[in-house]
Every structure is written in structure tokens, then in C-alpha cells.
């Protein structure tokens, strides 16, 4: 059997297609209310998932055994690669990433079908059917356009071409799976929306069913995007973490739609309103995940992800058209049932604030979408390619982001239905005072501390729009810091009010006990507030861009360069060689206020199998700012080096903000199970799981910190996971996270079912 591995793998893909089609048919038939057929469909779904797992295991086997009869293995691996990178090559190229996508979808399908046991009996058949349609699409795609098991026409080669050096990076190992987990996760809420539309059960049932699935998906979209930012920051040498690359933009679009949905769903749950909007939002979120993949694969717009381009875009286009047509058709069919029962009674109400927040989030998403595909739009309309660059995005996103930040603070201050003037005054007094004090302090001491409240901005456009954007850009740092303070004060006040109310009710509780029980009783609400703190911290990090310093200099050995508070002494070039590449470092000693911070060595790597040399940055991290260095050219004769230096203030707060955001999402996702129900061992397992996950978070931070502290001993400032380190990847933390999450999950989701009497 293993003598024809490509043939066997292709056969498995055919089996996936057949199993998905069979399960779809049985599930649709089960929709008439026959439990026998439903059970059959459930098992069919599990079988389809098992077949996809088989496909992944076969491809992984092919990579590990260097089976160069398989074209995909030849293109994305070679014999010199360590096993860890051989396994990550599974999603390193297009064909494998589609199989990986199917695998994640099969994991979601298994989890969803298992979870659905005995629940949502009427929705269940159509949820399974929709998931099978998506699975079928990916099977067709692999079979007819991007088969990861396709054999080399010329037979087996002696060695492969190797993985793109840009992808041989720690962040790249975990970024695609996390982002895919977020992307693929949108399939489950979408399937529920379709099931609700087909069955006509459009009240809160499906909204409640998808609540945690959507939060989980949203969490992974956040993680995936941030890991992409970290990868771009450390690997691409842009000087920053976000450059409005088309694929970066496409990846963040579903995040905006999902964020809008997470808020608007609360209105439907409490007020029975926005039913159409919620169905539309779910559909848009799912469509945007497919659009993201389409943009990456179709090569519609030039991008840093050019390595992933191919001609399968047309398949995605047809699939998107099918999804859109089906969803629109179903929505129109169910329009009478989708009409709202209630209406917004007052402008000063939480639902009104959420609606405006939704408009804004979707407005930002639409703006990014249109600007991203503008080169193609302009080509179609005016036969001229007009590219929209980062300055355009930065100017326009600033005011929109500030509005979002303001609304984020405003929402929690309002009550549902309406808020009286007295309550509003009471609610606003503290946050407004804090914001005012912070604004005054920033204006007074900001410049002295190196963070001036107002920064001069150049006019970007002529005319009024240009002037307005220029003014907004100038005051953006002050406005951001003030609004972040406003948000923090609002959240502190919410926690204080909740805790005080509880202590008033249960007089004997201490402050921390009351705080714990307040959060425990209303995890979704307070988890959401913690997410807001994380977003506030991220905004603070984004705002740091206003104080960024950038220099470019050509230095001779021994020459000194000053940037901000840093004094850099260039010591000269250094070359190291390993079997895969030549590494040319530029060694620089860094001092701040006369105190040595160590040696930083930005580099250029020239791979034996790569066409382009890669840029390896030098980085010194700090909570105040990052010193970021990129080497351009080095003259071997004169030993002169052309270097680009950046001082990036507050960047670390972006990463800290993400960790806070994730912990908030974790609080919201924590299952509502009483400890008595799970027993003592359940509690122990959950604690172990939670501790492992926290350790993973610390490890993520520590891997960055290592870059800062390891200057003296390491020739390069890159984290030790990257291509500079000949050791294979250390998977222990990732495995630990998996084990921890699994342990926490199983312990808390396993409930004791009462034995029949």
C-alpha cells in the first residue's frame, strides 16, 4: 500500500468527498425529524473527520520519511530540515494548508457534533449538513485544483527544495494554525445560522447555541492576527508590526465582523431585535474568512504572502457566490419571522450604543476592504492601478479608531432600554474626571517624558479633508491617552459598583470575595470588560507610533550613532556559515544614559536554496520603547554598513494588551459549571489546565524578553526559536498548552449525569 503513497492519499481525499456527500444527504433527510437518520448523520460526520485525519497523518508521514515522490513534499521540505519544521511544512504551502484547513474543520465538526448530542435536535441536521458542504468544497478544491498528494511528474527527486526561509520562524509555526483556527471556527456559527434559517427557529435558540463558539473563534482570530503582527515585526524588517499589507487586512476583516456580532447578539438575546442583522453579520464573518483565503491564494493584490499564490481563486469566488446566494435567499424567505419584536426606545441606552458600535466596526471593515482591493477597483473603473499605501490607512483609521475607543468606554455606562439623566450624570462623573486629569497631566508633562501630547503632522491632502485629518493626527496621542484613561476608569467603576452592590446584599463578604463572586456570577459581562482593558492597552501601543523615531545611517567600524536616548557603536561585520546559509552580522554595542545594554547584531542571511537574502532584525525590547535595527548593505572591503534604526515607543503594550484580551475572553468562555458538580478532581484538573495555559502566556512573553536579555551571549538578537538557532523547534510549550487546555476542558465539560432511578 505504501509503495503508492500519492495514490493512496488521493484515494483518501476521494473518500472524504464521498463521506461528506453521504453525510450531507443523510443529515438533510434527518431534518424531517427522524432520530435514526440523525444518528446516522452524526456517525457519518465523525467518519468524514476520521478520513481527513487519515489524510493529514499520511502527508505528515510523507514529510517525515522524505517521500519526494509527492510533489508538495518536494517543494516544501528537504533532508536538512529538522523534524519540527518538517511537520510545520504541512501548512507551509497552499495544497497542504487546504488539507490543514479541512483537518481543523473536521476537528470543529467532531467537537460540535459531540457537543450537540441531545441538544438542538431540530437545528442539528442542518448544522451537520452545512458543515459537510464546507468540507465537500475543500475536498473538491484539493482533488481538482490543489492536491497535496499529487506525484512528481518526473518521479522521486533525491532532495527537496526546502521551506521558504521566511516561514522558518517560531511565530510562523504557530501563526497560521491559530489564524486558521479562528477562520475555520466561523463555520460553526455560520452553520447554526443556516440551520436556524432553514428550520425557521430564529429566536434566541441559535444565538445562545453559537455564543461560546463565536467567542472561541473571535479569541483565535485575535491570537492569529497578533501572531502575524509579531511575525511581521521580527521577520520582515518593516520597522513596525502592521503595514496594511492586503493579506494582513484580509485577516483582520473577520475579526471586525465577529466583534460586531459579539456585541449585537446581546441585543437579540435581551430585546429580540436585530435578528436580520445578526444573521447577516454571521454570514459576512464567514464570507470574509473565505475572502481572506481567496485574497491570499488568488494573487489578486500583491502581498508579502506572495509565496502562497496560485490559480485556485476562482473556486473560492464561486464558493463565496454560492454562500452569498444561499444566505440571501434564505433571509428573504424568512423575512417575516426575522422582524424585530422590540425597538430602540431611547438614544441613551446600551442597545443604541451597541448599534452605533456595530456601524462603526463594520464601517472600519468596509473601509479596509475597499482600500485593500482599490488597486483592482481602480483598474476596472479607470483602467489605471491606484495603490493605497500605509499613510492613507493610518490617516483615515486614526479618527475611526478614536471613535471606536470612545464608544467602547461609553457602552458600559448605559443601561438597557433607557438611562435616566441622574444615573447618567452619576455614571459619567468619575470616568470624565479621570480622563480630564490624565489629559491635563499629559499636556503638562508629556513633552518632558518624551511623549508629547500634540505632535506636528504634515498635510496629507489639500483642502478641508486634509486639514481635518492633519489636525486629528496632531491631537491623536492626547486623545488616545485620554480615552484609554476614560475606558480604564469606566471599567474600574463597573467593577467597583458590582462589588459594592454585592457587598451591600451579602454584608459579610470581604472585598476580594465579593469581587470574585461578582465576576463569577456574570462572567460574560466582566470578561468583556477585561477584554476592553486589553483593547485599551493595545490602543496605547498603537498610539506609540506617533513618537516613533527613524534614522538611516552608513557607519564605519568604531563609528557612533545617536538615536533618541540610545548611543550605538558599530563594531564591524561578522560572518558565520552553517550548512543551510551564510549569516552576515553587523555588531553594534548599545548604551543608554551611559549604561551598557549589550550587543545587538542585525543580520542578512543568504540561504543556499533561497533566491532572496532575508533580513534578520536586531531588537531590544522594553515597556517604554523598542530599539529596532535593520541592516541594509555591508561592504566587505570597507566594512561599512548601511543600517536603519527605529525607536518604537510603547510597542510592548500591544503584546501585553493581547494577553489581557485573551484572559478576558477566557473569563467569558469559562463554562458555567458549579464546582460541586465536577467534584474535587475536576477542580484540580481545571487548575492544572489553567496553570499550564498561564505558563504558555508567560512563555510567549518570555520568548520576546529573551531577545532583550540575551544580547551578551547570543550573536543575534533574534529569539532562540528562529532560523538563527540550529536547534530544532521546542514544541514543549505548545504541547503543554494543548494538554492544559484539554485537561481544563474535559474536567469542566464533563458533568455527572444523574443515573436513572
Amino acid at each position: 500500500m505504501w509503495n503508492s503513497l500519492p495514490g493512496f492519499g488521493t484515494g483518501v481525499l476521494y473518500a472524504v468527498l464521498v463521506a461528506a456527500a453521504y453525510t450531507f444527504a443523510v443529515a438533510v433527510a434527518a431534518g424531517r425529524g427522524q432520530p435514526r437518520l440523525l444518528e446516522s448523520a452524526r456517525r457519518g460526520a465523525y467518519a468524514t473527520a476520521a478520513l481527513v485525519a487519515l489524510g493529514v497523518a499520511i502527508l505528515a508521514y510523507a514529510f517525515v520519511t522524505h517521500d519526494f515522490r509527492v510533489r508538495y513534499v518536494t517543494h516544501y521540505s528537504d533532508r536538512s530540515m529538522p523534524t519540527s519544521y518538517l511537520l510545520t511544512s504541512l501548512w507551509g504551502g497552499q495544497d497542504g494548508s487546504l488539507l490543514w484547513w479541512s483537518f481543523l474543520l473536521s476537528c470543529y465538526t467532531t467537537a460540535c457534533v459531540f457537543w450537540l448530542k441531545g441538544k438542538y435536535r431540530q437545528l442539528q441536521p442542518y448544522v451537520i449538513a452545512t458543515l459537510m458542504v464546507i468540507m465537500g468544497f475543500f475536498a473538491i478544491l484539493m482533488l481538482f485544483a490543489a492536491n497535496p498528494f499529487e506525484a512528481n511528474v518526473s518521479g522521486a527527486r533525491l532532495d527537496g527544495e526546502g521551506l521558504n526561509p521566511l516561514l522558518q520562524n517560531y511565530w510562523m509555526v504557530i501563526h497560521p494554525p491559530c489564524l486558521y483556527t479562528g477562520f475555520v471556527g466561523c463555520s460553526v456559527p455560520f452553520s447554526f445560522a443556516i440551520a436556524a434559517l432553514v428550520t425557521g427557529r430564529l429566536d434566541n435558540e441559535w444565538i445562545i447555541a453559537v455564543r461560546k463558539w463565536m467567542l472561541f473563534t473571535w479569541m483565535f482570530l485575535s491570537i492569529g492576527n497578533v501572531l502575524g503582527m509579531a511575525w511581521a515585526y521580527e521577520e520582515l524588517g518593516w520597522g513596525g508590526y502592521w503595514a496594511w499589507d492586503p493579506v494582513e487586512n484580509a485577516a483582520c476583516l473577520p475579526w471586525f465582523a465577529a466583534s460586531a456580532y459579539v456585541h449585537s447578539t446581546m441585543i437579540q438575546e435581551r430585546r429580540g431585535m436585530l435578528k436580520i442583522w445578526n444573521v447577516v453579520l454571521i454570514t459576512i464573518t464567514f464570507l470574509l474568512t473565505i475572502f481572506g483565503t481567496f485574497l491570499t491564494r488568488a494573487g489578486l493584490i500583491s502581498s508579502v504572502h506572495a509565496f502562497a499564490q496560485s490559480d485556485i481563486g476562482i473556486f473560492f469566488l464561486w464558493f463565496m457566490a454560492l454562500i452569498a446566494a444561499t444566505s440571501i435567499g434564505l433571509i428573504v424567505w424568512r423575512l417575516p419571522q426575522l422582524r424585530s419584536r422590540g425597538q430602540i426606545e431611547a438614544v441613551l441606552s446600551r442597545e443604541a450604543a451597541f448599534v452605533v458600535n456595530n456601524w462603526l466596526l463594520m464601517g472600519i471593515a468596509s473601509f479596509i476592504l475597499v482600500a485593500t482591493i482599490f488597486p483592482r477597483i481602480s483598474e476596472w473603473l479607470w483602467n489605471e492601478t491606484i495603490t493605497v499605501g500605509p499613510p492613507f490607512f493610518n490617516r483615515w483609521i486614526a479618527p475611526l479608531g478614536l471613535m471606536l475607543l470612545f464608544l467602547m468606554g461609553l457602552g458600559p455606562l448605559f443601561g438597557w432600554r433607557k438611562t435616566s439623566g441622574v444615573s447618567l450624570r452619576r455614571a459619567f462623573a468619575f470616568p470624565t474626571s479621570v480622563a480630564a486629569v490624565v489629559a491635563v497631566l499629559h499636556l503638562s508633562f508629556g513633552r518632558k517624558l518624551g511623549f508629547p501630547a500634540l505632535v506636528p503632522e504634515d498635510a496629507f491632502y489639500p483642502g478641508i479633508a486634509g486639514i481635518i485629518l492633519q489636525k486629528i493626527g496632531s491631537v491623536a496621542p492626547l486623545a488616545t491617552i485620554t480615552l484609554v484613561a476614560f475606558n480604564f476608569a469606566v471599567i474600574a467603576q463597573e467593577f467597583f459598583r458590582g462589588t459594592s452592590a454585592r457587598r451591600k446584599k451579602y454584608g459579610d463578604e470581604g472585598v476580594f470575595t465579593a469581587l470574585f463572586h461578582t465576576v463569577e456570577k456574570s462572567r460574560r459581562r466582566y470578561g468583556g470588560y477585561i477584554v476592553h482593558i486589553g483593547v485599551g492597552l493595545m490602543f496605547m501601543g498603537f498610539c506609540g507610533r506617533a513618537w516613533e523615531i527613524e534614522h538611516e545611517a552608513t557607519l564605519s567600524p568604531g563609528q557612533v550613532h545617536q538615536i533618541g536616548e540610545y548611543t550605538l557603536t558599530y563594531r564591524g561585520p561578522r560572518m558565520e556559515v552553517d550548512p543551510a546559509k551564510r549569516m552576515i552580522f553587523a555588531d553594534l554595542d548599545v548604551e543608554r544614559d551611559g549604561k551598557s545594554l549589550g550587543r545587538v547584531s542585525p543580520a542578512r542571511f543568504i540561504y543556499t536554496k533561497g533566491s532572496q537574502p532575508t533580513t534578520e532584525i536586531g531588537l531590544l525590547r522594553g515597556f517604554r520603547d523598542d530599539l529596532y535595527m535593520v541592516v541594509g548593505n555591508m561592504d566587505p572591503q570597507t566594512k561599512k554598513a548601511t543600517l536603519r534604526f527605529h525607536v518604537n515607543p510603547l510597542v510592548s503594550w500591544v503584546w501585553v494588551g493581547v494577553l489581557v484580551l485573551l484572559s478576558g475572553a477566557g473569563v467569558s468562555l469559562w463554562p458555567e459549571v458549579k464546582l460541586r458538580e465536577v467534584g474535587v478532581w475536576g477542580l484540580v484538573r481545571a487548575s492544572v489546565g489553567a496553570a499550564t495555559s498561564v505558563m504558555f502566556a508567560i512563555m510567549l512573553s518570555a520568548s520576546s524578553a529573551r531577545a532583550t536579555t540575551g544580547q551578551e551571549r547570543a550573536p543575534s538578537t533574534r529569539p532562540s526559536f528562529g532560523a538563527t538557532d540550529p536547534r530544532p523547534l521546542d514544541f514543549t510549550p505548545v504541547v503543554a498548552l494543548g494538554v492544559g487546555a484539554a485537561v481544563a476542558g474535559t474536567s469542566l465539560f464533563r458533568r455527572r449525569t444523574p443515573r436513572p432511578r
Binding site: 435514526r36 443601561g415 463597573e494
Partner: protein
Amino acid sequence: MIDSRRLLALAPAWGVPLVVATALVVGAFCGLAPALLTLASGALLGAVTLLWSSLGRLTGESPLTLEEAVGLGAPSPEEERKRSILRALKDLEYERSVGKISEEDFAELSVRYRAEAKELLRALEEELAPRRHEAEARLALRLKKDASGSAGKKKKSLRSKNAAKTRPEGRRTGAAVTAEEWTDGTATAEAVAAETADTDADASREALPADAPRPTCPACDTPNDADARFCKRCGATLGAPATEAK
């Protein structure tokens, strides 16, 4: 004899951990490639087993388990609205407790929500009334049947007592308690426990008056059912149930 269909139905539950454990062992001793082959074999076997059992369900060859067959019922839109209103009331009370809403607004909205909830509860009550009557009638029939069955059981125990008289070794542990022993109070605690366990729970409930005292757990103060022997929350022993006290 082991029911092969049942074994097949349970295969995914023990198959996945078994395959993963085997792959880990193989990986530890023979390397990654054989471990991947083990996983692949497990996945293939799993897929075939699952498809086979799916086809079995489809063709009706494999019967559904009770659990699989139960519960096509799902909450009606009225029930969902009721939940939504109850949740809104909870929110309203929270907002009042943290001072986000004035007393007047709270009173007005609370009255409106309660009126809506009342209306829904009435509608639900009306919708459920015929089914409830039907369920009660069936329950009464069942209890009647059980009561007559229980009487028959006691007659049987009486016969077994007479038979026991002929046995010199006396009563074995867990032997049935006779009607006489019940009435004259000579039954041992062991025998009473065994008998109580044997007796159908519904029949014991029938013997309980409606106002039977509900024992409170000495450990956690949880009120329990009148016939409970152990606390439903913490599992502590509750002392003699109402039936035995009587």
C-alpha cells in the same frame, strides 16, 4: 455474549484514546514515522467502523439506544421569549443595584417585563395543559400498577418466609423482609435496607403523605426529598427516611 453492535457503537469512545496511547508508545520506542503510521491506521479503522455503524443506523439494522431516541423536543419560541424576559429582569435588577437606572425607570420597566412574562407563562400553561393532564393520567395508571405489583411482591415474601422456616441456617444477608416483620418491627436494619432498595421508588413515594417532613442535610443544610437517605448535594447520610420513621 458480548453484543457486537453495542461494542461497535462504543468503539469511538475507547478507540481514540487507545490509538493515541499506542501511537505515543510506538513513537517513544520506534520513532515518529511508525507513530504516524499507527495514527493513520487508527484513523482508517475508525473511519471504516463509523461509516459501518452509520450505515447500520440508516438501514435500521442497528437499533437506536434509548438516549439516542429520546428528546426530539426543543423549546418553543414562547419558552425562549420567557427566558429572554427573565434574563432581562435579572439585568434590570443588576442595573438597579449598581445605580445605573433610577427607581422610577426600574419600577416602570419591571412592571412591563413582569406583565410580558405573565402573559407568556399563561400562554405556555394553556399550551401545556392537555399534555400535563395526559402525563398525570399515565402516571396515576403506572402508580396503580406498581402498587398492585408491590402487593404481589409482599405476598411472595410471605411465601419465602414460610420456606425459610424449613431452612436451619436462617436468614442470609440481603434476604427479603416479610410482611410480619415490617409490621411487628422485628426486621433487622440490614434486611430493611435491602428491602427498601428492592422496592420500587415510586411505590415508596406513594406511601409518603404530601406533607411528609423534608430532611435537611446536617452537613450543608440542603433540603432533600422526604424519602432521601443521602444528601443530594454533598452525599452525607441523612438518617432514617420518612418511611422508616413511620
